[in-house]
Symmetry: C2
Subunit: 129 residues, 2 copies
């Protein structure tokens, strides 16, 4: 929770933080927006293809979906794999780093269910191992 300038920098480590060295901040630097965790949710629920992801009820815009998938891939949360050549088509799979966000999604879902009980519950998510 100290600023980048105040951070100790041992010679064997090169920690470069965008905003601060708080682990929460660094998580939010990757998925702190209205869409990224919904894409992670969908991938966790078994969706893999662009058309499946774009058909979620939140009506994500195509440019936002493409941007977030690229960012999640670049942060190592999502792996992109070609499932067809000419034309190339890709599917998206969570890496272990992405799958490890399950407790985050579960905690948000539990909070949402508590304070917005008219939401639909997170039963589908809890079926993911």
């Amino acid at each position: 929770m100290i600023s980048k300038r105040e951070m100790p920098e041992p010679s064997d480590k090169k920690a470069v933080f965008e905003r601060s060295c708080c682990p929460i901040t660094n998580g939010l630097d990757i998925f702190g927006d209205k869409w990224s965790l919904l894409i992670v949710r969908d991938l966790m629920l078994g969706k893999r293809r662009y058309q499946d992801l774009i058909s979620s009820p939140e009506s994500i815009a195509s440019n936002i979906l493409a941007d977030r998938l690229k960012r999640l891939e670049s942060a190592g949360l999502v792996h992109r794999r070609a499932y067809q050549q000419s034309p190339a088509r890709y599917e998206y799979i969570l890496t272990e780093k992405g799958t490890d966000l399950k407790p985050v999604l579960e905690a948000i879902a539990a909070w949402g269910e508590r304070y917005y009980p008219e939401t639909m519950g997170s039963a589908p998510l809890s079926s993911v191992e």
Copy 2:
């Protein structure tokens, strides 16, 4: 996880969702950005005043801090209380709804610590009851 239009609307309930009736989505509609959960973190760590919040290492801009505090207050996560008159000065306190985000912050911190071990850990947060 169905769209607003497809949602059943029992006459005794008026559930209006901005994007969908998924509890995760409704959580992110409130705090799905790079700043809101950092403000909740700071309030959870005992900060109460604007000047304390703005001095956090992430260097939040004043207009963003004011906007997020207003949104958190409007969503019932934060209570604003005058601690001085003429000129009026306010402090900000988490409500139970805000404090209940602790498991979300802890899950993000645990993920951040696992994948960015050079971050500073979340020891201060875990001292909050």
